[in-house]
Symmetry: C2
Subunit: 316 residues, 2 copies
């Protein structure tokens, strides 16, 4: 699959940070940045732009806040054509914390939003766009979106927002490829002047397959993480995506080396990937929080009991 | 997805046996049989019917041979509607070893064959069919099959064989869903009086996605293994397949329990699953043998060097 318009965004440090309170050290983040740059990846996302009034720097590492000065230390001296992205959650950002793009190492701001918050998302998108950033909206929990409300949100984003990309986000890892196809075709129908993107979670080992499905139906922005790192089941593995995309600008080798040297040791310290309780929440189209709680306790391998507890908790 | 004609075959013990020389003990195999039966799975495959003239029982466990008496010990006293399957490799079976179906606990014989051996496969299929068995052919290494030769093989199987099911087998875990769709549609074009099936390997985390893809295009026989066990990257995880299929006759819970009790401990002893060298052979459409050799040595995590060695070995 070679389509020049396809852009790959690596969100290893941002999504991986959800497992360790965004507390990666500079050496590790520089190694990721170096490999992602050498692999020719288009964007790298380092974390969230959160307000220090809401989250304490004592509890969270620096990639919860993504100060420009911290980003400069990471990229200093490393040759790269990879653009820098940060994510913003609605209601958790101080807009005045964000400088003009021309004064910042950040190139892109991605705004995460549920369908219900799309008006606020548009306000944020346009604010950042006016400061000179590339912007996107990442529509979360898409597997729970009601059809008419999603249609309205897509229509508004097309008409009112300055977003460059509209991302479909399978937060719960619940989509199969037929629904992925349905959603991407729908987005392409409403979104005429912007690009469509996809961000998948890997609860059912479908993150890569659904990303391919989205590419087949003309999504041009795709997210991956090194060795699939990310909260709970993790994300679409970047190395598989590079193996699939035949664009000659990408080189899989720096990512393979990075996995050998950094991610195999890291995986022995923190957990993510194909783990049955996360598969169960994916199958049931649920947030993984109950499974994350289970994995911290003594019952962590009691899958049948966990499944039965979710079934009996289902809202009727 | 509920389609009454869909049949699920569990090949946990057969494909898992490829990692441990088919040396599972009776207690373990009985636990698998019990759970698979309770889950309502249609078929269970226990191993190969190999000749003792070619393979020594000193080197291999009993599931390399699948004697009727050994199978009887497994199923004795366990309530089940699950049919028993064994696999046969062309050139490795003594036909006289196989009794008439009416005198055997085995219900189905699956004949594994490359496209080039399809004439021999048809001879074997018809031999077993005449002994009263349900039969299938499993066309291996489908990602390497030449289009005209595959067409001819499918035509012959339709015209000359008594096979009940024609399986497409992605031996190298190399298929993406577009090629899966192409191959299943092709099989459905040639195969009019039999069913079409799929057996996927999980090198690129696409075994489940490609199995869904095949189901969408009307394959009715699908293979899975518990927790995805199988040689190298393993197979389509049975638990995910049951989560997807909405047929009320299937029950995921006994499989979840079996994973907790048997497969989590087993995975700590033998290796299978998403392991980068197997992903690399999948991406390159190669047999996993070089990756299997790598995993036994000291260089087992040297992914970039392994990738480069495969690239430089490519036949030009």
């Amino acid at each position: 699959m070679f389509r020049e318009k396809i852009k790959v965004l690596d969100c290893t440090v941002r999504d991986g940070g959800l497992i360790n309170n965004h507390d990666f050290d500079d050496r590790f983040v520089r190694e990721v940045y170096k490999a992602v740059s050498a692999a020719g990846i288009d964007y790298i996302e380092l974390g969230y732009k959160n307000s220090r009034k809401l989250f304490s720097p004592k509890e969270y590492g620096k990639w919860k806040f993504c100060d420009d000065e911290d980003i400069k230390k990471i990229i200093d001296g490393i040759e790269s054509n990879t653009k820098i992205s940060v994510m913003v959650d609605i209601g958790r950002v101080d807009l005045e914390d964000v400088k003009l793009a021309k004064d910042s190492p950040v190139d892109m701001v991605r705004v995460a939003s549920y369908v219900k918050d799309i008006d606020k998302a548009i306000f944020h998108i346009n604010h950042f766009a006016e400061k000179g950033y590339e912007t996107t909206v990442n529509i979360m929990a898409i597997s729970r979106a009601l059809d008419n409300e999603l249609n309205e949100a897509l229509h508004q984003l097309e008409e009112q927002s300055q977003a460059k990309v509209i991302y479909i986000v399978d937060s719960f890892g619940a989509l199969y490829q037929e629904t992925t196809e349905f959603l991407i075709k729908k987005a392409k129908k409403y979104i005429k002047t912007k690009e469509v993107g996809i961000h998948c979670h890997n609860n059912q080992q479908l993150a890569f397959g659904n990303t391919i499905e989205a590419i087949i139906h003309d999504a041009n922005y795709v997210d991956g993480t090194v060795f699939g790192i990310g909260r709970a089941a993790g994300n679409c593995p970047l190395e598989l995506l590079l193996g699939f995309l035949k664009n000659p600008k990408y080189d899989i080798r720096p990512i393979l080396d990075l996995i050998s040297k950094e991610f195999i040791p890291l995986r022995n310290k923190i957990e993510w990937g194909y783990i049955i309780p996360y598969a169960i929440t994916g199958i049931m189209d649920e947030h993984p929080r109950a499974a994350m709680a289970l994995r911290k306790g003594k019952e962590k391998e009691n899958y049948k009991e966990f499944y039965e507890s979710l079934v009996s908790d289902e809202e009727l």
